[in-house]
């Protein structure tokens, strides 16, 4: 999911920084000083989720949860994801300064789209529509992130095209798992603590 340092070309990195800066600016504007702790909780949960390993056949993948984050935070997903990725870079050396922008865009843009597509159904409506919205959000956010990562690689250097295709295909099983997990998680939150869904 992460593109590591020193791989991408400068125009792509610069474009990533520009789009991320714009997204974070919008997110910060929509986020009152009061909501910092809430956004921080969710962005740290997003960070911890990347440590949760889910078995799939002989191997395992880690959760991404950017769809869930998008539904809960809307545009604030941009600063939340930026901060979580920065923390990952600082603590685990996954990513770093140059790829922070592009990696943020690749994960936060799908999250914001999921907010517009699925937030209404996840918050209101029946449990059935909420479950479907959750599945849609988990599935779509990972699909889009995978697509963005692949496109970023392919645009950066023609020689990355084969690797990009494989990366996108590797996201397919993750999409289904994220769909299931996000769906169950939305239903859980509706039952246990609905205000997390409505507070954004």
């Amino acid at each position: 999911m992460h593109i590591s340092e020193g791989v991408l070309s400068m125009p792509i990195l610069a474009a990533g920084v520009a789009v991320a800066a714009a997204g974070v600016a919008v997110g910060m504007k929509k986020m009152g000083g009061d909501s910092i702790p809430k956004v921080a909780v969710l962005s740290s949960a997003f960070f911890v989720a990347s440590l949760v390993h889910v078995p799939i056949g002989p191997t395992s993948v880690h959760l991404v949860l950017n769809g869930l984050l998008g539904i809960l935070l809307g545009w604030s997903a941009f600063p939340a994801i930026l901060v979580a990725l920065f923390l990952q870079a600082m603590l685990f050396q996954f990513g770093g300064w140059t790829t922070l922008g592009i990696n943020t865009v690749n994960m936060a843009l799908p999250a914001v789209l999921c907010f517009y597509f699925f937030h209404g159904a996840a918050e209101g409506g029946t449990n059935r529509t909420a479950a479907l919205a959750g599945f849609g959000a988990g599935f779509l956010s990972v699909a889009l992130s995978g697509l963005f990562v692949a496109v970023t690689l392919a645009l950066s250097e023609g020689a990355f095209l084969d690797a990009a295709k494989v990366i996108f295909l590797a996201h397919l099983p993750v999409m289904v798992i994220e769909g299931i997990v996000t769906s169950v998680c939305i239903l859980f939150l509706r039952r246990v603590k609905r205000e997390i869904l409505t507070a954004s």
């Binding site: 340092e5 702790p37 909780v41 989720a49 889910v54 299931i180 998680c185 246990v192 603590k193």
Partner: protein, 250 residues
Amino acid sequence: MIDEPLAGERKQTFLYRLDPRTKILGSLVFSFSAALIQNLPAAGVAFLFALSVLFLAQPPPGRTAALLAAANGFVLFLWVFLPFSVPGETLFAVGPFHATREGIDRALVLTVRSNAIFFFTAAFVASTPMAAIARGLEGLGVPEKLVSLFFFTYRYAVEIGKEYTRILNAMRIRCFRPRTNFHTYRHLAFLVGMMLVNGYERGLRVRSAMVCRGFRGRIPLLEAPSVKTSDAFALGVLACVLVVVVTVHG
């Protein structure tokens, strides 16, 4: 579960005593410059410099090696494709795929420059506590709100990480064994949900406690960082190295 893996006992090295702003600026400039490198000699110079800076920082060797190895996962993945994807003189063939000299050169440059950045960043992180990073970012003009968000996120990540371990242990005691089935995914989703609910409530409590103690949206600095001659010296050395890299690069 979540600590600062590279911190060790935070030896009082030369790098440790530098102003955080110097270190952030330095690692930013170095990372972006190294990402631009297109040939092997220049990448080599950058790599050797990063390696010596890492030695200066004296991070705990075992954990650093493990993290750097993990960081190379993506680079390793690209090695599977890159030698076969660049057209040029064929060196050897695996079935229908031809590895080219040009492809291997590209992969080599990429690996060396990536590792130069990994090493330099590792040195930066190993010599700078999280609080100093937050302070440095603020000093460099990153909006206060974003810095507070970063600091809170770090603080909560530690708590939520504990929460995660606690719930997972409770599940294990009740014979939860992760497998590839709906049962596993469903219960991991409950785990995430519970982590969110507990984290959210804890976040609100922490916030109330802070407001009681006069919190108004920003975390004040206890000591004002100051730029010393050693900072100018460090940035000077970095500038010289970058000039050498550019010269070698041609």
